[in-house]
Symmetry: C2
């Protein structure tokens, strides 16, 4: 693993990270920023999709959106590039002992399936807040569960068995690409 | 080239497309939709980045954004996946005989450079409205021009020489992946 300029491995090891935890989105944003600065990968969270209804251009400084609505996303929240490969994922937190499938839209699952058929790498990252555990589950394993089970949620035990735990560190906070490297690149 | 189910090549040939022209964004959106339906590629326009300042949750139906501001985009407008490869581009129209470089933000050019170093495929699509010509220019050729010239715009002649003209058809409207296929996949 390479480190960004100015951050030495020794320095990292003396920081006592107490897992007090930002939320998953913040953790992923700082992780992706680390990947970008370190020239490891180029992965961003997409902006929230909205429909703009009214814009006020009268301000001397800048346009102000006065009326807009949230749109149902047609894709996942995160995508980008790692070693030439297309990366695509959705990230969710759950406070339960399971991951309710209503938290991920049907068309997002369809999107992840298409990522797979088009040769990309897709997955979900699920944070079990109460357990302080974050998992990566590949599209393959997500689809497999949905296909074989009629439950409306995926239990933690399935993530323990078929998912990959993402270790929480100081920097990068959630090094999910380490897992992607192992599964798809067979490197390191 | 494959065609989506229900559209036959014969049918296409009898349609007289008069080039009355939607705008570039619409043309690219319908092209990307065609690619998705035909299982050729998975490319989307990203939502407009905004900062939300005020949301009204009092409506019984849905939340209404009451105050928001446009953000300067830190990446390009379009990205996605073609045959396992990461695709990334910015699209712009110009009514002049040149493409003013102020139309593309510096950090967007930096982003395209990073796409390249991370092994992805990046480019710009520029529509010369008056000339009814749409070009694809690779990141390499874009950077080359900026490096070797001190002008604040790229003349049409540079696109004619170093770019690739995208033919305008009925469907797909602007088949830019045909050019990407030729440059980077050497296929078909």
């Amino acid at each position: 693993m390479r480190y960004p300029k100015g951050i030495k491995k020794d320095y990292q090891s003396v920081i006592h990270y107490d897992n007090r935890g930002m939320n998953l989105e913040d953790d992923l944003n700082t992780t992706n920023e680390y990947y970008r600065i370190s020239d490891i990968a180029l992965i961003y969270k997409k902006p929230t999709p909205i429909t703009i209804a009214k814009v006020d251009y009268t301000s001397r400084c800048e346009a102000v959106i006065k009326e807009a609505y949230f749109k149902t996303p047609s894709t996942t929240d995160y995508n980008g590039l790692y070693k030439g490969k297309y990366i695509d994922f959705e990230a969710k937190e759950t406070k339960l002992n399971n991951f309710p499938l209503k938290n991920i839209h049907n068309h997002q699952i369809e999107h992840l399936k298409k990522v797979r058929t088009n040769g990309g790498i897709g997955f979900v990252i699920v944070s079990f807040v109460k357990h302080n555990k974050v998992f990566l589950l590949t599209t393959e394993k997500l689809i497999e569960y949905i296909k074989n089970n009629k439950q409306k949620s995926i239990p933690l035990s399935y993530f323990e068995k078929e998912g990959h735990i993402i270790k929480q560190n100081y920097s990068p906070r959630l090094d999910y690409l380490k897992i992607i490297e192992k599964i798809y690149f067979k490197g390191d």
